[in-house]
Every structure is written in C-alpha cells, then in structure tokens.
Symmetry: C2
Subunit: 131 residues, 2 copies
Amino acid sequence: MAGPEGSRYYDIFLNYSVWLEARRESIVISAEGLKLLDEIRQEGSIVTAARKMGISYRKAWGLLKEVENLIGFPLVEKHRGGAAGGKTTLTTEGSELVSAYDELNSDIDVAMKGIAKKFFRKINRMSGHEK
Amino acid sequence: MAGPEGSRYYDIFLNYSVWLEARRESIVISAEGLKLLDEIRQEGSIVTAARKMGISYRKAWGLLKEVENLIGFPLVEKHRGGAAGGKTTLTTEGSELVSAYDELNSDIDVAMKGIAKKFFRKINRMSGHEK
DNA sequence: TATCGTTATGTATATTAATTCCTATCGGGA
DNA sequence: TCCCGATAGGAATTAATATACATAACGATA
C-alpha cells in the first residue's frame, strides 16, 4: 500500500492492519484470520490456503478453530473425503464477511492515500531533513 | 475506536494499527514503538513510559535501540545520572514524528468512522442475521 | 473396496519474544 | 564525596507461537 510521490519518506512507507475485536484487546478475527478465510474462499482448501500464506496447516486449522469459537455463526463448511480428499468452502455468511472485509480494505486504502500524503509531507519537511 | 450505532456488530468492533515500514515486511517503527515514543515524550523517562505501557524496561530499551538502528536520524536523547537518575527526551525530529503520527491516527479515526459504519451496515444485514 | 488427498488432532520439538535478574555506569545535588 | 534512580546491556529463564511429526477418519470415485 501507500503510493509514491509524497506518500513516503525515502523507502519508508505506512502500512496498516484492520481486525475484528471484542471488548478490550480480545481479538475475534485477526487480519491474518481474515486473510486465511479469503484464501480459502479462493482455493477451496485449508491446505492450499495455508501453503499460499506460508503458514503450517496446523496453524491455519488452529486459527479457524479459534475463529469458530469466537464469532457467533459458522463461517466455513469443511468436508472430508471424496476424490479430492476433501474441501473447505465458506458459508454464505463467511463469504459476505470476507467481501465486506475486502471492500473495507480498499476503502481504507483510498482514505489512507490522502492521509499518508499529509503525514509524509510533514515528515519530509521535518527540521533539517530537507536533504 | 469505532463508535456505537451501526459501527459495530453486537460487541464486536473494528480496530486497526498503523506503522512505518520499509521494503516488504521490514518494520521500521511498529505502532508499539511509536506509542512508546509518545509516552516518553509525556513522561521524560523510559522507565516510566515502559511501566505505563505494561512492558518491561528491557523491552522498551530494546525497542528504542531497534528504532534507532532503522530510522535514519536520532529520535531520542538519553541522559544518565543527575538528581533524578536520568531522563530521556525526544529530539525535535522525534517529537515531530510523534505529533505527525498522533495526527495521522486521529485522521484515520475520522475516516474509519464512516468506513466502519459502512462495513457493519453490511454485516448486520448479512443473510439470516437480522435477529 | 482400495485409493488418495484433505480434514482432524494430539504431542513433541523448535523458534521467537518477553520477562527476570544482575551488574555497571553516570552525574547533579545533599 | 557519596547517594539515588535512571540509563546500559549481557545472560538466563519463562512464556508464547509455530512447526514438525505422526496417526486417524473420511468418502467420492475408479
């Protein structure tokens, strides 16, 4: 994220993360979890999604379990067996959540463009750093 | 962050974090590091700042060292000795960076208000969740 | 019904991060 | 000159995470 010209300082740029939280500091779905759901939606498989994210299957599986415990409704539908060995798909709700999250991110991206530009304008003008 | 009415689903809300990054995945200053600088600015002491953040002095000190290694200019000025034992203040640049970060956060907060509202409007309308 | 690849889990190992513990240095003020 | 409390930083311990490994259940299909 973060564009060129004025929205960075040398090679430094702003990055961000958004997640779902409950109460104080109790994460319901981390950005990583949401990313995982997104990959599962695309791949239809936990194994492949984990591979694509560079995490172990065990971790992905644990993440899903945690998510299922915390969110109030089912997000994935897991199937074992079959020719392909099995598959995992998102429920309608899961799919809608991920879509909403995707759009959320693109909305933030847009907003961040301007905000980051303002931020780096300041940074670039910081005392003695006109170089 | 995230207001009431329409910008949350039951007790679930959106939270976010912004940090400075270089290249891909190489964090220059984490949100935690920026928070630490902020506290140091207010407290004038690493010890107190760490205490307020609920982290060990050792960790805070390590964070600062890391920051100093990665950012291209000094952000803090540390003094040992003296009646009070010592103190740590932000340099002009450090102070400006923290101010810029503070304003960045409040800008994002404002932007997030609307974006989160849109997000939760969708979530609340998700199939079968009108309950 | 034998196969194959995925989901499902426990356990053990490895890796990484953070806390705890020490010991030293510093320097203004009593 | 000595003291106090903060900075400085190495080293060991503990905690938290992740990976590796191993084994089982599954079930559509050839």
